[in-house]
Symmetry: C2
Subunit: 672 residues, 2 copies
């Protein structure tokens, strides 16, 4: 990389990879609100510091037991003479990419200020291929579009599909992590790291010049950030390689975050779980307890005298059957949604006092369930849907977390469906980003693990707060019950959404015909069963759900076995094959064992592959169980056609495998 | 009053007093957002219910020991046939005025909706005289303008003086409580009662037709209220009389609020207090502890190593001297502002995490002060300045209240100086009105009395939550140190601001030349000492400050005696004389005694009066101490000229008194 000031004192940088240009000369800076003195030009360099860093650290959970953080650093200290304002830019150059951030040092001439816009540029060298979703202040739950950069504006309208809360902002606005591929076969990924107390960054493309420009999420007044110096922005990251696998393997995002601020992390544990959830998502059952009331006033509405509907999922007997199933099949936890009062009118009403997070429905016996789960050795996972009403959530947060601890819950799924309250704010604005962080840090005080849905996409913060065990923040499995996602969706997510951190994708659907659960729902899950198994490896997360109903798993016990066997925490991960939109294959070594698991997901075209197992230990024989698509399997036509075979393998073995369209494979490799 | 539907089904009402029209035919209704089906016309009456009510109740504190609530009620049930929507309007007609509110009953066709505007009209019968301040979403801290209605638009610009947070909205927008006087000598007061979970109402004048129209405070999106049926709006009140004293004596506002929701009220006690305050307001001392830092990061900034400035008011020794003074002179409490970290950059920065409400400055020894105050039998009054950052306040509220209880504080002054965070909201929008109520109700849980400054003006809520012992919400004494208020300001406030509830006006300034405290402050207090004494009666509040410095009181011990002697809670109050802008004289009987106190404040013109004492007990002799303006007293020229005389009086005595311009008098009447 190179830093330079232009003739007019604009900070600029370029980035090369091997002999190729990756980022052409790109400007850096800010437009400040109500201030003629912008922070974009007329700078002089006052000092330059270089240094290098090479240390390894051990994550509480992760893809690797140990992560190396190795970079050369360049700190450029800038000053505008006429304003006496200082701005520093810190670059960290890794083997696999670059991170940079702005630092506003303490100074008299710039203390409190409002950002009109951040002016970071990422100038592309050509009309690359991009895997993109629409830039949006409120959601990332879109299917990915693969197109040339020049085609984005033409495809934007059809890319914007309806979602419960959405605010797209530009015909060439896209989200990060953005995955790009050049004609020369270079892979480029643009994202950010350590998004704390700042607006979420989107990218807006100047598609004449092929320059991406940072586009921060505004607040209710249209402002893009309130800053108090000293302050450091999040890092802007550019991961680059000529091998797509390196993008998935990159630890830049984690490394640019601060080390853990949680001292004792014993209570943070990866989990495999099931839940009263898919039956609700598909419309087989309901979150709501009754159909009696047109609207609910918490504390006033008399649930005790209400007539229960026949569809409420979270009733005690049903939950106990899930606990039984979890105990029998070795799942760590059971999630239950729709356990608390308020679901009758929770959505779409801009309702302030929508839930109190501590009042169960009459048919959900908190104490009995706690006792039963404890007796069976199963953890209960709490659910807090906020409906986007974040003031209300913060008002109840202490009580809600205390309620969890009192009733034996150590893990939480939170949700932010619908428009944000305070009204005028967005899911990704500084105000609301601050809220997610507040809820996360407070959860850490209570020793609670958080899996936040519809929150801002992660940026590696789980290094600093490892109780953030997962996020949704992308189009998850639920959309397979809302009309279906693209069959290659899961081959893109590892290159985009997962760059920031684990996703609670909720894989493991075995029954692809949703009308079998709900005759009014004709949605089809665009995946084969083998693909669903592969996801437990390709969608890395320390929190993995088996999302389908117990009865569906019981129909396919040999396939279900893989979900039971697969680990959720790892000593080592090797991306064997990867191409965004096409395929991802990864091998992972289960933490503290000699066992390996391999997963593959495949795109639209059927694909053959041959896998070398040279990562296995020398001189050892392993039993491999291979779960793969049957010959005629197809995500649409024949999704349940799979084979399971068992073979003996060694380090020098090769596996020949074939993945169907929308298919995949999963392999467990157990040391004999 | 009469209710009628117009030809097009618009709800309308009129109000008469004796033979005169007070409110001409005025429309009622709502414009609903994103809805072609407005709630303003095409109604039919489905049912009419009438009833009457006559009960007395005893307030926890107040002007009277017992308050009669006596009205006839008319409930009109309306329906729009084409929309099947129901809207009820409830009228309560008292001897001294009318209250009405809208009620949205539970119904299928109207559950959640957004108000574009409330369409309540108050059609005047002519070009009345009004005592008004500019309609503003953020402040009421304006001097009053007396003008004809037709003159409002011409005088608006000069009426809008600079204030820390202000958002005027219309050249004919004014605030309630609005005091009006007709050419025929009728007094009309427009306000609201029981403002809970709704936007604050302003009035916008159509000055061609002399019709006031309700104008609600918008939220960040410009919406004027989010409603969930069933819901009742606040009451709109019209107090009417041909005797100005009846306006002051009216209990309509209190009576239209719900009875106390606090069961045990033993902990709620009227208080007279002093404080480390006026020295800060005048600029003699500072809230801030140090001048070392350009900005503060709570928890990061190292106060322990900072150099203290020499002006910090809230240091332990100084506070102890206030405790000594309070104990010696019989004050119940001592308020201390500037005790907590963060005052160095608290204002004007839109700073989110501005205070934590529990971290004292290094020179404020919480424990030592608690012990000292307890030993001296003095209550400490806590101060929470939020700087308008209400999310931050709510996040710390439990901790802050708990800190108070731990350290022996039972009363709180809260403040909301500056623009509101969440940004885009206003001091008077539904979102923020909801916050004040939240903080008040939570304070009640902790048994804490609240005196909220810069919050929304009160609407009688202290009946329901009597721990709301006072508010500011108007131009208080502090403005006498910021350039001065009009000399007749205090003759208007009882007719306007005080209609909703008590004001922490902080009277009792004896030294009118502020430059004696701070040579850089040339402000002059536009009042005589006798006027300042009269305020303890005319500005009714269960919380009364003696705002000046102890050393100034010691210079005038005979005048100070009245402040020491005067009661703060009453069995009976009699408004003897009243004319807005001119004078107010009131006699009050101290609670549980036979002693009376009389106070008068006077406007710009010197005035003689003769007061009958026929409210005294038959056959008893009393000692009256009369504190009055000296002959040559004048609020500007000679404000400290007063006389004190003592005489014996009986029921049939008459007192001849004279008030100087900006003057007044105060009388203590003690049974022999």
């Amino acid at each position: 990389m190179e830093f330079a000031l232009s003739d007019t004192g604009e900070p600029t940088y370029i980035l090369n990879f091997k002999e190729s240009e990756v980022i052409k000369k790109s400007k850096l800076g800010f437009e400040i609100k109500k201030d003629s003195l912008s922070l974009k030009d007329q700078f002089e360099v006052t000092e330059v510091q270089t240094s290098s860093f090479d240390q390894s650290w051990e994550p509480v959970w992760g893809e690797e037991r140990s992560i190396r953080n190795h970079y050369n650093e360049l700190l450029v200290q800038l000053k505008q003479e006429h304003t006496e304002r200082a701005l520093n830019i810190r670059f960290r150059l890794f083997d696999d990419g670059l991170g940079f951030r702005y630092e506003f040092p303490e100074q008299d001439q710039l203390i409190y200020f409002v950002l009109e816009e951040e002016l970071s540029e990422f100038a592309m060298t050509g009309d690359h291929t991009a895997f993109w979703i629409p830039g949006d202040y409120d959601t990332q739950e879109y299917d990915y579009t693969k197109s040339k950069l020049s085609e984005i504006s033409g495809k934007m309208e059809s890319a914007i599909t309806p979602i419960s809360s959405q605010t797209p902002f530009s015909p060439t606005g896209v989200q990060t992590a953005l995955m790009l591929k050049t004609e020369d076969g270079l892979y480029i990924n643009l994202h950010e790291a350590a998004l704390i107390n700042y607006s979420t960054m989107h990218l807006n493309l100047d598609d004449k010049n092929m320059v991406f420009q940072s586009w921060l999420t505004p607040d209710a007044n249209g402002d893009k950030g309130h800053i108090q110096a000293p302050f450091n922005t999040p890092w802007r990251t550019i991961i680059v390689s000529d091998d797509a696998r390196d993008i998935l393997d990159s630890k830049i995002t984690l490394n640019l975050n601060e080390p853990s601020k949680i001292e004792n992390t014993d209570w943070i544990k990866p989990m495999k779980y099931i839940g009263v959830w898919w039956e609700l998502i598909t419309g087989k059952g309901s979150w709501a307890y009754t159909n009696d009331f047109p609207s609910i006033q918490l504390g006033v509405t008399d649930y005790a005298s209400a007539k229960p509907n026949s569809t409420h999922g979270a009733h005690t007997a049903h939950v106990k059957s899930y606990i039984d199933f979890a105990a029998e099949h070795g799942f760590d936890g059971v999630l239950v949604e729709g356990w608390n009062q308020g679901w009758e009118d929770w959505y779409g009403n801009s309702k302030d006092y929508v839930f109190d997070f501590v009042s169960p429905y009459p048919d959900f016996d908190v104490k009995a369930i706690q006792d039963y789960a404890q007796q069976k050795g199963v953890e209960m996972i709490m659910h807090h849907e906020t409906s986007g009403s974040i003031r209300n959530y913060e008002r109840h947060l202490d009580t809600a977390y205390q309620f969890m601890k009192t009733h034996g819950y150590n893990a939480l799924k939170s949700g932010y469906v619908g428009d944000i309250l305070p009204r005028g704010e967005y899911h990704y604005s500084q105000w609301v980003v601050n809220h997610y962080q507040y809820a996360l840090e407070k959860a850490a005080e209570y020793e609670i693990m958080v899996n936040a849905h519809e929150a801002v996409r992660p940026t590696g913060i789980s290094r600093t707060y490892p109780n953030l065990i997962a996020n949704e923040s992308a189009r998850g499995t639920e959309y397979q019950a809302f009309g279906g996602s693209k069959a290659n969706h899961v081959t893109v997510l590892p290159f985009t959404r997962l760059i920031g951190g684990p996703m609670d994708y909720t894989p493991g659907i075995f029954e692809m015909d949703i009308s079998t659960l709900n005759p009014h729902n004709n949605s089809h899950v665009n995946a084969t069963i083998a693909n669903q198994l592969g996801l437990y490896l390709t969608m890395y997360s320390p929190l993995q759900m088996a999302a389908d109903l117990p009865e569906n798993y019981m129909r396919f016990p040999d396939a279900f076995r893989f979900i039971k066997d697969v680990a959720v925490d790892w000593d080592e991960s090797i991306y064997l094959e990867a191409e965004p939109g096409e395929y991802v294959t990864v091998a992972r070594k289960a933490k503290g064992t000699s066992n390996w698991f391999i997963g593959n997901v495949n795109g639209f075209e059927s694909r053959k592959t041959s896998i070398k197992l040279d990562f296995l230990e020398e001189g050892i024989t392993y039993t491999a169980r291979i779960y793969e698509d049957a010959k005629d399997a197809h995500y649409k036509e024949n999704p349940q056609a799979y084979k399971v075979r068992q073979i003996q393998i060694r380090k020098n073995s090769k596996l020949k495998l074939r993945s169907a369209p929308g298919g995949g494979f999963a392999i467990s490799i157990i040391k004999n």
